[in-house]
């Protein structure tokens, strides 16, 4: 990413940040920048420190040394304003008796009147956003009664309702089916195009490769970052995951196999009868009219 593509001041900047606890350092001397309007995915194995990195930005992870700035202001250990956060949906208490509208209203806390009830203005802002996210008709429904994709959109709405500059999502594609993953990442792409900077963590490398213009391979340090087309190589991913990772390309199609001993597994498929099929998939996608998404990705 050249400096001419972005304004000179990063939205988030880590300068030699060490994070964790005295008995367990999660990452050390980390320097990283995220620029306004960037749409970046943070990938790495479990325990790599991805969630800790997000929480360091959010001011809830202990920072032992270094500086984190948000729009030029130091935010070490404090919660930066203008940030929307979507937690992993697995951490949500779905039995809690709250409606969709009540959850989204929580996102207005900083700007709210603090009255126990919602004002007319707050209610119309929430309803408008829910309508935009296509879940307006569920406003009065308890959150457990929605599908996985709808639940994810409720928490996305809570994060967006106060018009944040930065949206942070922890594993937004986990716990939902492939179709919903696709829809969520597509929606995030639309939000990003409206000017919101997005940083998310995910384990789904193929979804990242498909939808995100920028990826950060992270395992206690930044192993590599850039366009997934360039960064997702067997070498980089194997270093990131400390395990053999195979990346297959055919034309503009890329697929990462993240199963154990991926290289061996795929050698069998590619050289066997299935390899013809794989070629067929590539050609068939062109006739399915999905090209625009790839172009869309490169516009960022």
């Amino acid at each position: 990413m050249s400096s001419s593509e972005h304004p000179p001041q990063p939205l988030i900047s880590f300068s030699k940040v060490t994070c964790g606890y005295k008995e367990k350092i999660v990452f050390k001397d980390l320097s990283l920048m995220l620029f306004p309007r960037q749409f970046a995915g943070l990938v790495g194995p479990s325990g790599a420190g991805k969630s800790t990195l997000l929480k360091a930005i959010l001011g809830i992870s202990p920072i032992l040394s270094g500086n984190i700035t948000f729009a030029g202001k130091q935010v070490n250990g404090s919660v930066p304003p203008d940030v929307g956060y979507v937690p992993q949906i697995e951490t949500v208490d779905w039995d809690f008796p709250v409606t969709v509208e009540q959850v989204v209203a929580m996102g207005l806390y900083r700007k709210s009147t603090r009255l126990p009830w919602l004002t007319g203005g707050e209610r119309s802002v929430i309803r408008e956003l829910l309508d935009r996210l296509n879940i307006g008709h569920y406003a009065e429904r308890q959150i457990k009664l929605l599908s996985g994709g709808e639940q994810q959109r409720v928490f996305l709405a809570r994060a967006l309702v106060a018009n944040p500059k930065l949206l942070i999502l922890d594993e937004p594609t986990s716990g939902v089916d492939v179709k919903t993953q696709h829809a969520i990442l597509h929606l995030l792409g639309e939000i990003n195009r409206k000017g919101v900077t997005i940083l998310l963590t995910t384990h789904d490398l193929n979804a990242v490769a498909r939808h995100l213009p920028w990826v950060i391979c992270f395992n206690q340090k930044v192993v590599a970052q850039g366009d997934p087309d360039e960064v997702f190589t067997s070498e980089v991913l194997s270093r990131t995951y400390q395990s053999d990772m195979a990346v297959f390309r055919q034309g503009d199609v890329m697929m990462v196999d993240d199963s154990p001993k991926a290289g061996h597994h795929f050698a069998k498929h590619v050289h066997g009868a299935d390899s013809q099929d794989y070629g067929h998939h590539h050609t068939s996608h062109e006739s399915h009219g999905h090209h625009e998404s790839n172009e869309e990705r490169h516009r960022h």
């Binding site: 929580m106 900083r110 009255l115 696709h182 790839n294």
Partner: protein, 317 residues
């Protein structure tokens, strides 16, 4: 009608019913937060911890409310601090601190046997002993607690739902937790004389759980819980008067009765809806056409599996 008005001729009953409905309502209100945090055991434990403080206050000739209140508040703070240690869970922290505190009270009573009778009232409740001064203190604590919960309604809701995310969105979670601890300790102190140490936990939990069974909406749960708490306190007092049994026990038994009714109602409602759905909705036989089969695909680097047909669709034709 005499059945309702007759007991009101007695001043002790009027005091008692006012205290019971006030205490029932406020216990039910804080019970909503306790139940939703899955910390039901804290009400039980804290009332026992406060008992230790009550005994120490009496021996040291401190004001009961200030002495026992401070003791209770410090107990909650200590529980929160110990529970944060990774090797000690919240349940174990409550168990250790509150039982130790209760044991302090028991040890002192066994040393100074002359206090036994008044502490029996503290353990099992003595509504007949509610004085005008007690009533004023109960009313003030109830009013201030309810007002604080009203003013900090959004903060309490967000913190109870997800404390970590609430912090990210700017809620001063630590202060909210401390304020809640203070409210909880105060409510338990003023409830001791009405409910008794052994029954307070039920007064806190039962109306909230009953309300939870009946609704999926937080605001409605708060309203229903308070209503059931006040109703339980009032009906419990009449039951206590007519059957001549401990008021704490009757209040809890009425609340338990409400819970059983709500539970059965909800169970029947679910069965009715299941039956109605089974009757009204025809069973759809999903037959996949033979020419459609699962097919793994790769579109622009996005690998997935979907249904695939080699036959032309009507549109294409």
């Amino acid at each position: 009608m005499n059945f309702i008005t007759d007991p009101l001729k007695y001043e002790f009953f009027v005091h008692g019913i006012m205290a019971a409905s006030l205490v029932g309502g406020i216990c039910a209100l804080i019970g909503v937060y306790i139940v939703l945090r899955r910390m039901s055991y804290i009400g039980h434990g804290l009332s026992h911890a406060v008992f230790g403080g009550a005994v120490v206050s009496t021996v040291m000739q401190w004001n009961f409310y200030i002495g026992a209140g401070t003791w209770g508040f410090l107990s909650v703070l200590l529980i929160n601090a110990v529970a944060r240690k990774k090797k000690v869970g919240a349940d174990a922290a409550i168990g250790v601190i509150t039982t130790a505190s209760f044991a302090v009270g028991v040890a002192i009573i066994s040393r100074y046997r002359k206090f036994t009778k008044s502490f029996e009232a503290t353990l099992f409740g003595n509504i007949l002993g509610v004085t005008t001064e007690d009533l004023w203190i109960i009313a003030i604590v109830v009013l201030v607690s309810a007002l604080l919960i009203f003013v900090f309604y959004r903060q309490f809701l967000f913190t109870t739902f997800d404390a970590e995310v609430a912090r990210i969105y700017g809620v001063p979670v630590d202060w909210v937790e401390r304020l809640f601890s203070l409210i909880l300790a105060s409510v338990i102190i003023v409830s001791m004389q009405v409910m008794g140490v052994t029954m307070i936990a039920a007064g806190i939990i039962m109306p909230a759980v009953t309300a939870r069974v009946l609704t999926d909406n937080f605001n409605k749960m708060v309203f229903l819980s308070v209503l059931l708490g006040i109703l339980g306190g009032t009906l419990g007092m009449y039951t206590s008067f007519y059957f001549d049994v401990s008021s704490g026990a009757t209040i809890v038994l009425v609340a338990a009765g409400f819970f059983v009714i709500a539970y059965l109602y909800q169970m029947m409602r679910e069965k009715f809806w299941a039956f109605k759905q089974a009757r009204d909705v025809p069973v759809l036989k999903e037959e996949t056409p033979t020419h459609i089969h699962l097919h793994d695909e790769s579109h622009s680097g996005f690998y997935h599996v979907h249904e695939h047909s080699h036959e032309k669709s009507e549109d294409q034709e």
